[in-house]
């Protein structure tokens, strides 16, 4: 009798069967498997389950508590929505990858020990990369390869950290990690790579825009939020994270203003939004951690909705740059409307989900009296509305007529977007159920006159500045270099230039040395060679002189010895 069923197992088994099914049945299976997975997740009871003895260690594959449940719920929900969005896709590799990727992310948040976490962590990388590669372009292949290499590095850091942790503490339990040990920093570095914390973030803005239309939805939801979860579990209250987080919120905004590709703008805003969560983890108070959990929950929904909207545009028009788009509201009105629900949700407009979660984190900063953090987070909110709610929406759906005449997105895409949009709206007006599943009881009301007034002023006046500066914010046919420059283009060129310089210097030095050596050899030859000075017959006087020198030196050394 099975007393505990791991939801990841359901998804992995479902993924294994999927390619064997005929088309009609496969579509039903694509909905049935995630719905079953979600049902299993909703049935989870708090406790520790699925213990496995392995090499003398006890692995806990299922630690179910308030914190892991928040993430498990939303992972389950987004998997259902994402699979509906991908129903029209006939490439089974993508579906299998998506299901196993979600299974791995769930496995990671339910992992009760570091070894189990490591296994699912690595599985996440090797399953998710297919969602990038299956776009089938050269750019996506190269981008996926870079994604793989960066995450492989993260995996090695995590493994090294886990080994050091085990050797120093004798335990593999995954709880708050003791600061200032080697394991602390190794594991933190691995987590920060997955959380896309600058300067370790470039894999995200490089790879996500190159993923398949449907794959990007899963990517946007799972990897970074798993990282937020593990940071909450192991690094709550580490002040460094608070500052890194607040920098992230601004970094994402600045690069989103520069970006031209619609999904790159969204990718940079994952960094910005995850920044709020990382900042809250760094603050570490109960309110802040509740805020991070709530924001992860709402963020997954609205960000997936935005990626679905942008994906629908790319799917229907074949274009992904703002400079190629415009005026689509007339032809894809439902996509536009649903996209806007995501856009106002991420911006924190009252009535939508971001408002009830982001403001918890800002409130946590205020309660702690952290004025600078408070102001920076609030301003980043203006930047979010600027790049998603205004720039992205305006130049894609409104603005000029680009001449594109797409039809509305397929029904399955609209249904998936509709589900996400309904959740964004319902959570926005009725945050109670969300607040009820947070890790700790929460005494917070987003819907005060003060909060509503503040958010509305912030966003509407951001809009005013946007329209006054409209000439400066449009997309440009350029790319903005980021940290990946170090391993991609200029950095690589610079490294190669240094290598060439070194090898040229080396060659020149050897050449000079050889020239010197030859000249020296010539001189020796001149003196000692067959016709050299020393080879000539010496006159007797010279011999007498040298004998005198020899005797004199003998005399000197002889005296010294006595």
């Amino acid at each position: 009798m099975i007393d505990w069923l791991h939801p990841s197992l359901v998804l992995i088994l479902g993924a294994a069967v999927l390619p064997l099914l005929p088309t009609g049945l496969r579509k039903a299976w694509m909905v049935l498997v995630p719905v079953t997975g979600l049902a299993v997740i909703f049935g989870l009871e708090p406790g520790e389950f699925g213990r496995v003895e392995f090499l003398g260690m006890t692995l806990v594959t299922g630690r179910v508590d308030e914190l892991s449940l928040v993430f498990a719920y939303v992972f389950g929900i987004i998997l259902v929505i994402g699979m509906i969005f991908a129903l029209h896709v006939k490439d089974n590799v993508q579906h299998v990858a998506a299901l196993t990727y979600a299974a791995s992310a769930l496995g990671a948040v339910l992992a009760g020990d570091l070894v189990t976490l490591y296994v699912f962590w690595e599985l996440m990388v090797i399953t998710s990369v297919w969602l990038i590669w299956r776009r089938g372009t050269e750019v996506s292949f190269a981008s996926g390869m870079r994604y793989l290499i960066v995450h492989a590095l993260g995996g090695v850091l995590l493994l090294a950290g886990v080994i050091v942790y085990y050797q120093t503490t004798g335990s593999i339990a995954f709880d708050q990690i003791e600061p200032a040990s080697a394991a602390f920093y190794l594991i933190l570095a691995a987590f920060l790579i997955n959380a896309a914390v600058p300067p370790l973030h470039a894999w995200l803005s490089d790879a996500y825009p190159e993923a398949t239309v449907t794959g990007a939805v899963f990517l946007s939801a799972l990897t970074t939020k798993t990282a937020v979860y593990v940071l909450m579990r192991g690094y709550a209250g580490v002040e460094l994270l608070m500052w890194l987080g607040v920098i992230m919120t601004w970094y994402g905004v600045v690069y989103a203003v520069l970006a031209n590709d619609i999904r790159r703008i969204l990718a940079y805003h994952i960094i910005s939004q995850v920044g709020y969560m990382v900042c809250a983890v760094g603050m570490g108070t109960t309110l802040a951690l509740n805020g991070a959990s709530a924001h992860a929950f709402t963020h997954i929904l609205y960000k997936a909705l935005l990626f679905m909207g942008a994906g629908a545009v790319i799917h229907m028009t074949g274009k992904s740059k703002l400079t190629d788009l415009g005026g689509l509201y007339r032809y894809m009105p439902w996509t536009f409307l649903l996209f806007m629900v995501g856009a106002v949700s991420i911006s924190g407009l009252p009535l939508f989900s971001g408002f009830v979660s982001k403001t918890i984190i800002i409130e946590a900063a205020a309660v702690e009296g952290r004025g600078l953090i408070y102001l920076m987070l609030l301003t980043a909110g203006a930047g979010t509305f600027l790049s998603i709610g205004l720039k992205l929406a305006w130049f894609t759906f409104l603005h000029r007529d680009s001449g594109l005449r797409p039809t509305e997105a397929p029904v399955n895409m609209l249904v998936a977007m509709g589900l996400a949009a309904v959740l964004c709206f319902v959570i926005g007006i009725l945050p109670g159920p969300l607040y009820a599943i947070l890790p700790a009881p929460i005494d917070y009301n987003a819907w005060t006159i003060g909060h509503v007034l503040k958010e509305l002023q912030l966003l509407l006046f951001t809009g005013l500045a946007f329209f006054l500066l409209l000439g400066f914010v449009g997309g440009k046919n350029k790319i903005a270099l980021d940290v990946d420059w170090l391993y991609r283009g200029g950095g690589r060129t610079a490294a190669l230039a240094v290598r060439d310089r070194i090898s040229a210097t080396n060659a020149r030095f050897r050449h000079k040395a050889m020239d010197g050596l030859s000249a020296w050899m010539a001189r020796i030859k001149k003196r000692h060679g067959r016709d050299g000075k020393l080879a000539r017959t010496w006159p007797t006087g010279s011999m007498a002189f040298w004998v005198a020198v020899l005797l004199a030196s003998l005399l000197v050394f002889g005296i010294q010895q006595q």
């Binding site: 520069l258 992904s320 205020a366 102001l375 409104l398 002023q457 509407l460 006046f461």
Partner: protein, 98 residues
């Protein structure tokens, strides 16, 4: 009337909508000045319209910083990395439809 037509009508009345929004914005600032704040935790908490100022200035600031950074440092031609982005054929992605 379908949604597209409705949106079309709204867009045609863009000027009117802008004026209504501006009036609403003025009312919000006015309300913020009149209504006393919930808390006074920071020096700016009592200032009416502070969030409006922050939104406007923040937006201008981000545009200025981003464009400055772009023009001076990070903007490069699209083929900088030697990669050409091919467009997907509309609604007929090879991977998705064969």
């Amino acid at each position: 009337m379908n949604l597209g037509d409705l949106l079309e009508k709204l867009v045609r009345r863009g000027r009117l909508l802008s004026l209504i929004t501006l009036a609403l914005m003025a009312c919000l600032v006015l309300a913020d000045i009149i209504i006393p704040p919930d808390y006074v935790r920071f020096p700016w908490d009592g200032i009416g319209g502070f969030a409006a100022l922050l939104g406007f200035a923040g937006c201008a600031f981000f545009i200025a910083v981003a464009k400055g950074l772009g023009v001076l440092l990070v903007y490069k031609p699209e083929d900088y990395y030697g990669e050409e982005h091919e467009h997907d054929p509309p609604s007929a992605d090879r991977r998705e439809h064969d």
